[in-house]
Symmetry: C2
Subunit: 325 residues, 2 copies
């Protein structure tokens, strides 16, 4: 992690130490950024007694939770730093006295200025993965957790993030051939569902909403592995495609159950098992977190492959950024 990013995170951590109490942590953003933050809520929920919640930013603004006050911590994220709803949410939270941390790729943006503790992340090729959005988010989370729920593992996890660049390259290489094959076999599909659980739910949410719907105009819906059997599974059929992220965390049983059932009835299951990821050299306690990030890297390979097969660039938009809405 670059020193600049580390310093920005440290700033926020020092401020957190000053807070007598934290009554709640609110993760607030839109679309893909909201999805990225979902992992944060997951970790706080399973590892601390600090209540944590995720909101799409405009609901946070228009229907603000009763507990938001000067004891709250609000973490937001916007790549451009200009997402209006997220900027508004951060301003509103800061006005209410909450401690505001915002992640963005754009220093000096509206969000950057709205938050008390802005934290930058890099983007593009030739940058370290531990300096990209998820690397920085997890770095921030582990650092905050060292204050809120001190455990040795946070220090270990923070260090392990530095392996991300290398592991990402390995994972991409590992899945390249399969992704090209899958893309050829699924390029005519009109709908592809995503399924996942636990810390990976954010990833399958953004795969459905952003990768498929936004960037490919492929219909999609995301399904929680636990709820699959209580409704959604009835659409399963030989020709219905699903993308399942199979966790190595506590909810693996839920994902395994989905795999056991769905593979009997659908010929179009893409199962991305985190156990297959190149995590051998990673400390045990850090594996679920690195796996969550690497699953996103792997999914991107598949999406890039299908975009190529379909002649539909990931950059194409017909509405987003094209008009006011």
């Amino acid at each position: 992690m670059r020193k600049e990013h580390f310093d920005q995170i440290s700033c926020a951590v020092e401020a957190l130490k000053e807070k007598e109490t934290v009554n709640a942590v609110y993760f607030v953003a839109c679309g893909g950024s909201q999805a990225v933050l979902m992992a944060g809520q997951y970790i706080f929920d399973k590892e601390t007694n600090v209540p944590s919640h995720v909101y799409t930013a405009n609901e946070f603004v228009y229907d603000t939770p009763a507990s938001l006050n000067e004891h709250s911590l609000v973490i937001s994220c916007s790549h451009s730093g200009n997402t209006p709803e997220t900027v508004e949410a951060t301003r509103m939270a800061r006005e209410k006295g909450a401690m505001t941390i915002a992640l963005s790729n754009a220093e000096g943006s509206e969000l950057w200025n709205a938050a008390e503790y802005p934290v930058h992340y890099d983007w593009g090729k030739e940058v370290s993965d531990s300096d990209k959005n998820k690397g920085i988010l997890y770095g921030l989370l582990f650092s905050l957790l060292m204050v809120l729920q001190p455990k040795e593992k946070w220090d270990v996890c923070l260090k392990e993030l530095e392996k991300l660049t290398e592991l990402s390259l390995m994972a991409k290489e590992q899945y390249r051939e399969q992704s090209l094959r899958w893309a050829k076999e699924n390029k005519r599909e009109k709908i592809i569902y995503t399924i996942g659980s636990g810390i990976n739910y954010g990833e399958v949410y953004s795969t459905a909403m952003c990768w498929f719907m936004e960037m490919q105009w492929i219909h999609s819906g995301c399904i929680h592995s636990g709820d699959y059997f209580h409704g959604p599974f009835e659409v399963t059929d030989y020709d219905v495609p699903f993308l399942l992220v199979k966790s190595i965390g506590n909810t693996r049983f839920l994902d395994q159950r989905v795999e056991n059932f769905s593979t009997k009835f659908s010929n179009k299951m893409l199962i991305l098992d985190q156990q297959d990821l190149p995590l051998e050299g990673v400390a045990e306690e850090a594996k679920p977190y690195l796996a969550a990030i690497l699953s996103g890297v792997v999914i991107r390979e598949f999406v890039e492959a299908i975009a190529f097969e379909r002649g539909h660039s990931l950059d194409v938009r017909r509405y987003m950024w094209q008009m006011k809405y």
Copy 2:
């Protein structure tokens, strides 16, 4: 509300009064039952300082939140009372010392026995809507809130629930013609998305997962109105159907924004505006709650109509209840 139900709720309320503190409220269930409970989490989140969360039951079991303890309140729901994951979750919570309330249509079922405070609800025709699952849930919620966050409005809201039967009939009558027309126009559709926000999110979740996917094998995905513009909206096109529940609550602006945009590009928007519901005689503070319930009643009309047009009975299942999974 029948005296039996009222007494069961009172039992739970009295027990709650004995609790020194409530550190969290967990709403735990599967599928449609989980969707019903989502409104509970919404209300607690906007009206109290008691942290509240929703879980699909199996994730609650396998990846239990750190804060679950003897100060917690766990509210679960299963129509049959036999949903294994929900029964397991309730047992586990009770073992941990949490106060467990469970809603079910089946007295003496596994869930009924697992919970410390079981509460029954009626089902079928010829029963009062205030005694059905949502009427009982809201009755329970308002009663618990009178203890946790006393406000005059809970008493008012509790009384207004008694108008549900009459208002449900009126709403069904009001929408019958439109539902039959919509069903004819949409019976060939392979996918119908659902969109909503605020207290209605649970309703659009269950419309997608249960009404469309489970009971009609129509592909679907539910989208939060706030997040629509951050990905999903890119699939909007003249022939893409959406069902939008337009709130009368604080998030109406979010839903209005969806309507303004989507109606420009899709010819297949079904917009169910809660402002059109027969709520004139209802007390102001109770309107958002009754509206949430009535939207579900209205949606059911549309689903029954399309089921008839498609020759696909709402009772048909190919997997659910047909095999082990």
